[in-house]
């Protein structure tokens, strides 16, 4: 099945990156890992290596958001969404071995996406949050889109660089969520 083969190549790509790093992974490596021909890889990824790597990153990202959704789906308030989501996201970042290895050994390949080109990431986090903001409501005069964008930026910032905050501490987490994150966003009263 086509979908199955494409996915197999993507997962093979991930395995290669895990083993050799991002810059050293070649189409040949991936083809061998997936037990397909080079021609097959190029058929699914005409853009070659770059397109394949993009697909690997996309796959990991989708996995993350799927698990995040599962983590927060029973939440009954904005506070709970963030209170569950933030530590989950932070843990995911810390525990993702391949991501951390790439960030340490080949930072120039991923750092721009977390800093200068973070729009895409911010956009994804914002898109994830919008339904919850729409459901639970936002402060008078505030637009859901604006709130989502702001929250997404802050979440990315706190996850990547917690600063003086210990996101694993429930008291601190609750304080951060209620104050910095939601004080301006949540409906008053």
């Amino acid at each position: 099945m086509e979908g199955g083969l494409r996915q197999r190549i993507v997962e093979a790509g991930y395995a290669c990156v895990a083993r050799w790093g991002l810059s050293k992974t070649t189409v040949e490596d991936v083809a061998r890992q997936a037990e397909v021909s080079r021609a097959t890889v190029y058929r699914y990824f005409p853009g070659g290596r770059d397109e394949l790597i993009d697909a690997v990153v996309h796959w990991q990202t989708v996995q993350f958001f799927t698990r995040l959704y599962e983590e927060v789906q029973d939440a009954t308030s904005l506070e709970e969404v963030l209170g569950r989501g933030l530590p989950f996201a932070r843990r995911s970042l810390l525990e993702h071995e391949v991501l951390n290895r790439v960030l340490q050994t080949e930072p120039e390949l991923l750092l721009p996406q977390l800093t200068l080109e973070a729009n895409r990431t911010v956009g994804m986090i914002g898109a994830f949050l919008e339904p919850y903001l729409a459901r639970h409501g936002v402060a008078d005069g505030m637009e859901v889109r604006t709130a989502a964008d702001f929250l997404a930026r802050m979440i990315l910032s706190y996850i990547a660089s917690p600063g003086r905050w210990d996101l694993a501490d429930p008291g601190q987490l609750s304080d951060l969520v209620r104050t910095e994150l939601l004080a301006g966003v949540a409906p008053s009263g």
Binding site: L116, R164, G184
Partner: protein, 250 residues
């Protein structure tokens, strides 16, 4: 080019350069630093040689070496120290002149946005040699940068907030500024005071109000400045807190 050259200075001395004074007048050192900045703005870091710097500074290469015995690495450290000191001095003036807490935050944000966003050497590096700059702005380094700025900026919030609150608000406002600076949004131009004010009013002031109402007793703040008595209804009603925040504290 060692990445150590761009390590940020220690929080302890935000105004004075961390390196000990070297031979050569300080005017000359500043001239050399400014010449380096102009070279980087034009050619980038990798392609800037000490010859380029000497030429731009109107002195000999020997003079450059005498002023910076550690060579290009030491020179780059001095460049970062100098620019950071300059930014902090300008921030001190802008934030010191501001009338109320909202104005302090807006002034700080817009000035930082203009100086950092419009910085010629930094702009060149971010555009053409991002690997030189980005590792010093991400993760642990971002934490350190936040710590450095909040320690420096917190006293300017001292008229309205106790020390812990001031540190916290300073750190958070810096996060906001860094986010919009690093990754601009279509509808937010932080160099525009009206945009900065909109951000501060929408997100920062409500949190400050919430912070103040969480304090067990606003009058007991350790070394903090004296503040007017908390309104009995401050906990549940936002507007009295806003008056406190808007500068009636002095």
């Amino acid at each position: 080019m060692g990445s150590g050259a761009l390590a940020l200075i220690q929080p302890a001395a935000p105004v004075a350069p961390a390196s000990p004074p070297a031979p050569g007048s300080s005017n000359q050192r500043v001239r050399i630093v400014d010449a380096t900045l102009s070279c980087i703005a034009r050619f980038g870091l990798a392609k800037t040689t000490l010859d380029d710097v000497a030429r731009a500074a109107g002195c000999s290469r020997a003079t450059v070496y005498r002023a910076f015995p550690g060579g290009k690495d030491a020179l780059m450290k001095a460049v970062v120290d100098t620019e950071v000191s300059r930014l902090f001095s300008e921030l001190a003036v802008a934030m010191g002149e501001a009338g109320d807490l909202e104005d302090v935050l807006v002034a700080g944000m817009t000035l930082a946005a203009r100086r950092i966003g419009g910085h010629p050497a930094l702009s060149f590096l971010l555009a053409h040699e991002p690997e030189v700059v980005l590792p010093h702005l991400a993760f642990d380094h971002h934490d350190r940068l936040l710590g450095l700025v909040s320690v420096y900026a917190a006293p300017f919030l001292g008229r309205w907030l106790d020390h812990d609150q001031a540190l916290r608000v300073a750190e958070w406002t810096t996060r906001i500024a860094l986010s919009y600076l690093g990754c601009p949004a279509d509808d937010v131009d932080l160099t525009d005071p009206e945009h900065a004010r909109r951000l501060v009013r929408s997100f920062v002031l409500p949190a400050i109000r919430a912070l103040s109402s969480f304090s067990p007793d606003p009058l007991v703040v350790g070394e903090g400045p004296a503040r007017p008595p908390a309104q009995p209804t401050a906990r549940s009603v936002p507007s009295p807190g806003l008056d406190t925040v808007k500068g009636e504290a002095s």
